[in-house]
């Protein structure tokens, strides 16, 4: 028994030593063969973050983003989706308006003109409206040029002329954004009082607002349709302003991915805004008899007011009489507001 133990003990010891020698150097050898096994990996980094960022030793820290392939989706949006959204929204609205005009025609003053007028918008309101409107038209045209100019206008006028025009359009777009924003803020403040939605609006919408048929649902100073336009201007204008400034002041608010989102919001809101304004321009001009005067001279016919804003007219008449043939002094007119 003891002789067997004497024989087996060194044998076990030798085995153990051999195992130790074989296993110990194995990991260090593998590391030398492939140093990239533990290194940063492009595919893995992109899967984790959708972009790769590191450290740069040059002062421009923004350049530390090595790669961000997200621009590909943005490109798809800009070149395909936006053109469809914009095209359908604006041409669709135009088509609806043309069909509406051809079938319904101008909304007439059914009781004819009374010859007496009442102040609807004072000089201040009209100045703010037209300042905002002028800016809007130029902003819309110069903005649409960025999206639709290359396929539509560039082939017609050539590279040099198109670049020259686009350069000016860009400057106009950037600088007129300031008076436009001021206009939107002033519109928000000066008309907020009459634009809070209430029960009357439901009634107005139910009765088709007088657009469908020849009904004249009662309305205060602003009916549900006008309130809609008001909130489109305030919310839409606010959104395009905020996102526009974000693009105008790069890297103040966000990096590139934030700017891509800002451009998407800016452009989608803008084309929908333009579509809505087409309807607003239509109803304010050829769509309704006597409507333009409200923003033109500022005074509307009393019969127009009775048909479209009966409750507002009653309120105004209770405060002061209508404008009989003589024009009233200006300060009195503003007081009537």
């Amino acid at each position: 028994m003891s002789s067997f133990a004497r024989f087996i003990r060194p044998a076990i010891g030798a085995w153990a030593l051999l195992l130790l020698i074989m296993t110990a150097p194995a990991p260090s050898l593998a590391q030398q063969i492939n140093p990239t096994a533990s290194s940063v990996n492009e595919r893995q980094l992109l899967q984790e973050m959708d972009r790769i960022q590191g450290r740069v030793s040059i002062p421009d820290q923004r350049s530390s983003v090595l790669m961000q392939p997200a621009g590909r989706e943005w490109r798809e949006f800009r070149n395909v989706a936006l053109r469809w959204i914009g095209g359908v929204a604006m041409l669709g609205m135009l088509a609806v308006l043309v069909i509406f005009y051809l079938t319904r025609g101008m909304v007439r003053l059914e009781s004819g003109r009374s010859g007496r007028t009442i102040v609807r918008f004072n000089t201040y309101e009209r100045v703010v409206h037209w300042m905002t409107a002028t800016c809007f038209v130029i902003l819309a045209i110069s903005g649409l040029n960025i999206t639709f100019g290359r396929p539509l206008l560039l082939p017609l006028i050539g590279f040099d002329a198109f670049s020259e025009w686009s350069q000016w359009a860009k400057f106009a777009h950037n600088y007129l954004s300031f008076p436009f924003t001021i206009g939107v803020v002033l519109i928000f403040l000066m008309w907020i009082g009459g634009n809070i939605p209430n029960k009357l609006d439901l009634e107005w919408i139910k009765r088709g607002g007088g657009l469908i048929g020849h009904d004249h649902p009662p309305a205060r100073r602003f009916n549900a349709g006008q309130k809609g336009i008001y909130w489109i201007v305030v919310i839409g204008g606010g959104l395009v302003a905020v996102t526009g400034y974000q693009l105008m002041f790069p890297f103040y608010v966000s990096g590139i991915e934030g700017m891509q989102i800002a451009q998407i919001v800016h452009s989608v809101v803008a084309v929908l805004f333009i579509a809505a304004m087409l309807a607003h321009i239509y109803i304010g001009t050829i769509g309704m008899e006597g409507a333009f005067e409200a923003m033109g001279s500022g005074e509307v016919d009393v019969n127009w007011a009775r048909e479209h804003h009966s409750l507002w007219l009653d309120q105004e008449l209770a405060r002061s009489g209508p404008n009989d043939s003589q024009p009233r002094p200006r300060h009195a007119a503003s007081a009537a507001e």
């Binding site: 140093p35 590191g54 621009g71 960025i146």
Partner: protein
């Protein structure tokens, strides 16, 4: 015709920034603009890698696709160039570029960014090759002189390769085979929609 590409072998880049300096000097790139930069990922940690990056001269380049005035063009060598006379400085290429290549001379706001500037693959611009106007707007046109981009030419570890895509891919493949490892051609999947199998 050759299809020019850049390839940065991240396993050889030592972040010396010579490519950055060479580029700035060769083209007299204005202050504040870096047509090429070296980004170090996982800096100071095990497995860190540095990659030298500039415009990759993409296949079906996103910048060219989104430019509102269509000022980009691709040369017969596959180099993506642009006309500073047509550029309106709108910043769209800069939203679309996956590599952060487009730069603007003015940190400027109010949209006065100035004309976009980016790596030209040392191939100048639309002006006559080697003309004064070309040099002032875009820098040297080494390609027209039969030379390759300076950044790659003077890379001390030959990490940055420039030249015909097929040839530099072959050089890289042989390297990987010989040394037994490689972390891949950074940016190739995004720029050229292909990778080099290693």
């Amino acid at each position: 015709m050759a299809r020019m590409k850049f390839l940065c072998d991240a396993d050889r880049c030592i972040e010396c920034n010579a490519c950055v300096t060479a580029c700035k000097n060769e083209h007299e790139v204005p202050w504040g603009i870096n047509r090429r930069r070296v980004v170090t990922i996982a800096d100071g940690k095990p497995g860190e890698r540095s990659v030298s990056m500039a415009c990759m001269h993409c296949t079906d380049a996103p910048c060219a696709a989104v430019c509102p005035v269509n000022c980009f063009y691709t040369t017969a060598d596959g180099v993506v160039l642009h006309s500073k006379d047509l550029c309106i400085g709108c910043g769209y290429c800069f939203y679309a570029c996956p590599f952060g290549a487009p730069q603007y001379p003015k940190v400027g706001n109010f949209g006065s960014r100035g004309k976009m500037d980016k790596c030209t693959y040392c191939a100048g611009g639309p002006e006559a090759d080697g003309s004064k106007e070309e040099y002032e707007k875009y820098g040297a046109n080494r390609l027209a002189e039969g030379k390759l981009p300076l950044c790659a030419e003077m890379c001390s570890t030959k990490s940055l390769l420039a030249g015909d895509g097929e040839i530099i891919a072959q050089i890289y493949r042989e390297r990987v085979l010989k040394r037994g490892y490689g972390s891949g051609a950074w940016g190739w999947k995004t720029a050229y929609r292909e990778t080099i199998e290693s």
